[in-house]
Amino acid sequence: MSTIKVSIVSSSEEIYSGEGTMVFATGSLGEIGIAPGHTPLLTGLAPGPVRVQNGDDEQTFFCSGGFIEIQPDIVTFLSDRAERADSMDEAEAIKAQEQAEKNMHDQESTLDYTKAAAQLAEAAARIKTIQKLRKNK
């Protein structure tokens, strides 16, 4: 079976580097599936889960915003922050979401609206990732 080289890096560390037969991610214009031999594509990366399948083995990662670069034999995720989904804490994520929601509605808050909206989107994506991961188990 042909494979594609996958690397997921965040600005502070390398999260994953290896082969995959199929990769799923959330691009800025919607979900994309990447198979080996994909045409060169450059797109934004929206906060959400990134699933790397290698045969029967599947691993899930969480990436916040960034970029995806796809070459026929390489796919690179440049994420601002990324982590292994199974090391994420749901309680923490829910707390972050609540905080982000509060920031959105709080007129007094010094945070501007766009920043708060981005925080909320990230927190929501985080929770979605965790829930998806749990369902698959």
Binding site: V9, S17, P40, G44, T76, L78
Partner: protein, 287 residues
């Protein structure tokens, strides 16, 4: 001739200084490991983004980004990365020397220079020397937060966008090993040409989602940010290494000084005893 009490006081004061420098050496030694590992953790990202940028450079894109554009150089901006604290030998001053030299070189070609400064030491230096400072960030600490650098990067890139500056350089120390740090000035914008890796020969382009302009704008900004962040992290490792070395030398010098002073102390004491004895003998003979 110095009296014994004075010499003894001096020895005591140098000894306490030596204790401090020895402690600082140990602190720096333990911090080196941390800063070095942080430097290594950040490396994959900068390598990957560089790869992506070089792929983009070889693609025949319909949109050419302004960072690749070779404008006629009239104004240059130096991003100078320095440490916040001193006591690290010639680390900062060697870097500033390089910056001044490069700025003078450009000045001879009719290029004006401005500076964006990171770290307390650079701010103090350019305040004393003079120079057009466009941005300044200080006190990033041992674990620099990329968010703190965004403001500075944005200021510089906006100036570039408005044609206020044509070239951007980053000046920082490169970490060679614990004993050697190499100050360097590297050109950021226009992006230096990237060596051919065989992709240029064929005509190809990405599919961009959404627009090429928007995407490349974001990606290029992120690239510059990552380069600056990496320079800061690397400079941090350099600072700790240089500090360890400087403190080690200081501790050794203090040791030498103490040895010399102890010799002097013994001389003075012996001289005093000899004099007293000869006075007693002289006195006895007179009687």
């Amino acid at each position: 001739m110095a009296n014994t009490k004075e010499v003894r006081k001096q020895i005591a004061s140098i000894k306490s200084t030596q204790k401090i420098t020895a402690a600082m050496e140990m602190v720096a030694a333990s911090k080196i490991r941390k800063t070095q590992s942080e430097m290594q953790l950040g490396r994959p990202y900068s390598e990957k983004i560089k790869e992506v940028i070089s792929h983009i450079a070889t693609s025949s894109s319909e949109y050419s980004h302004p960072f690749y554009e070779n404008r006629e150089a009239k104004k240059a901006c130096f991003i100078v990365v320095s440490s916040d604290k001193g006591l690290c030998g010639g680390l900062n001053i060697n870097l500033f020397k390089n910056v001044i030299q490069k700025a003078a070189e450009l000045n001879n070609q009719g290029v004006e220079s401005s500076f964006a400064l990171i770290g307390v030491k650079a701010a103090n230096f350019f305040k004393a020397v003079g120079g057009n400072v466009v941005a300044n960030v200080q006190k990033l600490g041992d674990k620099p937060d990329p968010d703190m650098l965004i403001g500075l990067t944005k200021t510089v890139l906006d100036l570039h966008k408005d044609n206020e500056i044509d070239q951007v350089y980053i000046c920082s120390n490169k970490f060679v090993n614990t004993m050697t740090q190499q100050p360097g000035v590297q050109q950021l914008i226009p992006l230096p040409a990237i060596e051919d890796d065989g992709l240029t020969s064929t005509h190809w382009d990405y599919i961009y989602e959404p627009e090429a302009k928007e995407l490349l704008e974001g990606l290029m900004t992120r690239y510059i940010e990552s380069l600056i962040y990496h320079a800061v992290v690397e400079n941090n490792a350099c600072e700790q290494a240089a500090k360890m070395l400087a403190m080690k030398n200081a501790t050794e010098n203090a040791g030498d000084l103490i040895k010399e002073l102890e010799l002097l102390y013994n001389n003075v004491r012996q001289a005093a005893i000899t004099q007293e004895l000869s006075e007693i003998v002289g006195g006895a003979a007179a009687v």
